[in-house]
Structures are given as C-alpha cells and as structure tokens.
Amino acid sequence: MADKSTNFFMDFPTLPKELIRAFKKSTDAAYKAFSREYGDYIESFFNPLLKFLVFWEKLLVATPWSVIIGVVCIFAFYGTRSYKIVIGIIVSFFFVGYMGMWEDMMESMGFIIVATIMSIAIGIPMGIWMSKSNRAQAVITPILDFMQTLPPFVYLIPVVMLLGIGKIPGLISVIVYAIPPMIRLTNLGIREVDREILEAADSFGATPRQKLTQVQFPLALPTIFAGVNQTIMMALAMVIIASMIGVKGLGQEVLRAITNQYFTLGMLNGLAIVILAIVFDRISQAYGKRIQKHRSGDAI
C-alpha cells in the first residue's frame, strides 16, 4: 500500500501508452479524412488568394530594380521627409542586389505585402466588431492569446496537412501569425476614444455608422497604424519559418544555409531580411506619426 502511494506521487500518473497512441492515431486519422474529403474544395476556395499573391510576386520580380528603389524611396520620403532614410534605403537595397539576393528579396517583399494587406482586410473589421460587442471581445481575446503563444511551428502542421506544401499554406500561416496585433489594436484604439467626444457626436444625433466613420475610426487610426506596423514585423519573422513549408524568397536561402552549414549565405540573407524589416518599419511608423500630427500643437 505504502509503496503504491509513493509511486503515485513520484511518477506522474499517465494514461496507458496504448491509449495515448490510439487517441493520437484516431485524431490524426479523422483530420486526415477531413482534409482528404474537403482539401480540394478548400484549395479552390483559396485560389483567388493564390492569384493575388502570384500577381504581386511577379509584379515585383518583373519590375526593373531601379523602378522599385525609386518607388520605395518616394514612399519613404513622403512619410518621413528625411533624406537620410532615403539614402539609407538606396545604399542597403543596392547592397542586397549587388550580392545577388534581389529576386529573393522581391519574392519575400511581395509575400509580406500580400500578408499585410490580407491581415488589414480581415483584422480591421474583426477589431471593429470586437469593439462594438463585449461578448465578441470576451470570445476573441482568449483565441488571440492562444494564437500568439502557440509556437509557430505547431500551427504549420494542420495547415500543411490540410493544404500540403506551397505558397497558400505558407501565406495562411503567416496571416494567422501576424493578424492578432491588427485585431487587438483596432479594438483598443476604438475603445479608447474619449467618452465625452462620443457623447458630443451623440448629442448631435449621429448614427452609429456616422460615429464610427467620423469619430471612432479616425481617432483610432494612430493605434491601428501601430497594429499595422506590428503585423508587418511579425509577418517578416514568420516568412522565414514559413519557408519550411515551401515559401520561396530570403527565408528559403536561410533554410538552405542552416541545413548545409553555409555560414556566409545565412548571414547575407539574414542581413537582407533585417534591411527589409527596417525599411518597412521606418516607413510604416512614419505614416503612423503623420496621422497624429493634429495632436501636437504645431502648425501643419
């Protein structure tokens, strides 16, 4: 008796091994059956997304590098009004191209652009919905917490099982990974709007829609932009991991470097990713700041 109880507290009580194996097997089998059954249907559902992604990748790869650098610089200058940043972009992009990584960078860039556009398109309406309904907030918040703490490798698995290896499963996993800040910060931004200002809008007889478009959304924009910035950064991080399931671009080169122990190749591609991250970060932050200019006292 005494022996047994010590054993109970010393060794963790587990289900019998056979049972656990059976559980895993049956769940996997059910999931596999589901994906066999509906996989094609789901794939065709995502076909437009694939076309959208391929369009962007082709566009960026086919466009002459000089035009791309020019466009990025115009964006950067309009946002930051800083020659330093523009020169930094020209030099670093030149470096990437000179080291033969231009095409890979363009693929990654197209991927991130599409992932960001999709995250915004899905995240903002969800954030708005969440801000309007406390119940939606109560349901969505733990899901977002779960999504953000789950190691990214883990949710590659169901996506791959369902859709196989390729661009679309890669894109979906990137979006799933990158969308939480978009939703969270849209919700937060709208909920943070000063109660008295909303009351003023109410006192003039504004409809809920007028309040959203005239007051809540514009006032939440700086916070929403912080969400866009975070989403881009997270998409960049995930693009590397998603290369494991067939996403091309800089990440794939890094993966090749790891498996073959090519130190320099890994460093160079890593550097290119850093450059891309800094450029995206600076530009999106600059636009976020421009939006809030009215908040400072200076003349515009």
Partner: protein, 345 residues
C-alpha cells in the same frame, strides 16, 4: 402657447445600478442617497425632479459636485435614460421617441456645449463647427456658409483651418459654442460650459452668450456651480442637492429667501449690491405710503445694480427711490427701509 413651457420635466427619477426600478418607491418613501448606496448598492442620480422651463428663457441649474446637474441636463436630449418620469419638450415626451425620432430630435431641437469642449481633434475648426450640419446631411457649401457665419460671430475668423489643439481653451470653447449654434437648435444645453476657463475669458464668454441670447432668444439650460455666474446669466435658477431640487426661482427669491440651509450656504457670500438690480427688488406704488410718493425726485434705472446708485443714496438720503424704465416712466418704487433691509439680510 402662452403659459406653456418649452421644457417640462415631470417626476423624473434616475437611479444608477443594475436593478433600479423597484427602488423608485423606496426613494419616494424617503430613502436618501447615502442609505441607497449603503443598503442597495445603487446611486441616486435624480430624485423626483419637477421643473418647467419657459420658451426663450435661460434656466440655470446649480449644485455642488455630484448633485446630479450633468445627469439632469443629459435627460433633456436623452443621452441618459431615466428610471421613471417624463421629459416633455414642445408637448412631446422625449422618452417615448423611437430611436430614429430621437436622432431627428437631437439633430433639430437641441445642441450641447461641453465643459471639456469635446471637440473633434482630427477636424479643423471649420469642420468642427459644421459637424452637426454634416450629421444632418446639409449640403457642404451651405454648411460651410453657416459655419463661417458662426465662426465669425464668436470671433474666430482666420482660425477656421486650425486644429483645436492649436487654440487656447477660451478659443476652443468658442468653437464649441459656434458648433452648437450652427445647428440652429431651439434649445441650447450647456454643461459647465465656462467652468474650465480662467476668470477674464469666462467673463468674455458670458458676455458673448448674453449678447447672442438677447438676439436669438433660444431656450438655454445652463449648468454652473458658480453663483455669480448663475445670477448674471439666469432668468431662473434651480438648485440641486443629492439629486433633489432644493429650491427653484429667480435670483431675488434665492438670494433673499433661501428655503434650506444648503441654499443659504450657497448665497451667504454673495455681494448682493453687485447682483441685484433695481427692477429685481422694486415695489408697487401701493406698497408705499402716499405721502412719501409725493414730491420724490430720486430716480434710478431699472437695470442698474444697487452698487451703482448706493453712493448717491447715502448722500441724498431719499425716502423713496423711483425705478424708471427705458423711456423714463416709473416702473416701480423702492423705499429706503426696503433697500436697507435687503442689504442687511
């Protein structure tokens, strides 16, 4: 409609909390604000408020912090739903309006000015002032014309393309006032509209309001906790305490015959000679002994405050003062006893 009021508040109760309705009766039976909070965990906002506000008059609502002023004014445009009672505006109970009719009511009948201005920080002065018109879907060109008129009227011409944060507090509240007036509401609701301003600017704003009011004759509900402001602006003053109405009446009633200790405390520091006008305290000819009336020559204007003629009274020592109207005719009289009694009390 002579005799009828623009706004008629009847038996209005507001109890904050999850289950207020059963508590109305308890409040009616005399449970106070503290006990209600202690025993039932509900906050007494308003307790049986009855108030009639005549068309074109300026009604002041006073009271200490937490007495329910903001709660009361927000019932007029139903930003707050009451627990029980009626809020009748132009013969129509606002509380029975459908959601759509309520929006129409707010667009057309009322406009509000807020203590902390509540301007839209991402819109320019012009866009702020035309906000109500935008909500009403007034054509942009016309909205701009109207808005510019009011921007000029409150003295902000040249600032129309600035953002609120670039303006001083006084200027921001002018924007708030212009925004309300641009809507051309019948009823102007002002919740401590001038309380956040420093004294000189506050006086400016009071003068602007009085000037505009003498011309437009809106029905104004004005909240303040400053008695001097109340006496300067109000045709009538209502005093709230812990959600109940302690006293309601014109300045003279309140100053000279405070009904409760609370009201008395409110008025005790007021310099009466600076607030009371001759017309406020004058008597009828019949109240004054015949022999005194004959041959008196001391005359004052009806709108003069006591302070303005008290020096002459001290020198001349008249028995009776004649109060005259605009055209010089006698409106009433003021005996020296009455005057000294008022100043002594």
């Amino acid at each position: 409609m002579p005799g009828s009021n623009k706004i008629e508040i009847k038996k209005l109760y507001k109890i904050f909390g999850p289950k207020p309705l059963p508590l109305v009766e308890k409040v009616n039976n005399g449970i106070g604000k503290d006990e209600l909070l202690e025993k039932h965990k509900h906050v007494l906002g308003l307790n049986n408020i009855n108030l009639g506000i005549p068309e074109q008059s300026l009604q002041v609502i006073m009271g200490l912090s937490g007495s329910g002023k903001s709660t009361l004014i927000r019932h007029i445009n139903r930003l707050i739903e009451p627990t029980a009672g009626e809020m009748i505006v132009d013969g129509q109970d606002v509380l029975t309006l459908s959601q759509n009719d309520l929006l129409e009511f707010r667009k057309n009948k009322t406009a509000m000015v807020f203590q902390k201005f509540a301007l839209l920080p991402h819109k320019t002065v012009l866009q702020n002032v035309s906000f109500g018109l935008y909500i009403k879907r007034v054509e942009p060109a016309e909205a701009e014309k109207k808005a510019m008129h009011w921007i000029e009227r409150v003295g902000l011409l040249g600032f129309e393309h600035r953002y609120p944060q670039q303006l001083s507090g006084g200027m921001q509240q002018r924007v708030g006032l212009a925004r309300a007036l641009a809507n051309d509401p019948d009823i102007l609701l002002m919740d401590e509209a001038f309380s956040a301003l420093d004294p000189l600017i506050r006086k400016d704003m009071q003068d602007i309001l009085l000037e505009i009011q003498s011309e437009l004759k809106k029905t104004v509900v004005f909240i303040t906790h400053d008695l001097d402001e109340a006496l300067k602006l109000g045709d009538s003053i209502a005093i709230l305490k812990d959600g109940s109405m302690d006293q309601e009446g014109n300045a003279v009633d309140i100053l000279l015959s405070p009904k409760t200790e609370y009201v008395r405390k409110f008025v005790e520091d007021v310099n009466r000679s600076r607030v009371l006008k001759a017309k406020n305290i004058m008597q009828n000819a019949s109240d004054i002994a015949k022999d005194l009336l004959n041959g008196q020559t001391f005359k004052v204007k009806a709108d003069d405050v006591i302070e303005k003629f008290i020096d002459r009274v001290v020198v001349d020592k008249p028995n009776v003062i004649e109060v005259m109207g605009e055209n010089g005719s006698a409106l009433g009289y003021l005996s020296s006893e009455r005057l000294s009694e008022i100043l002594r009390k």
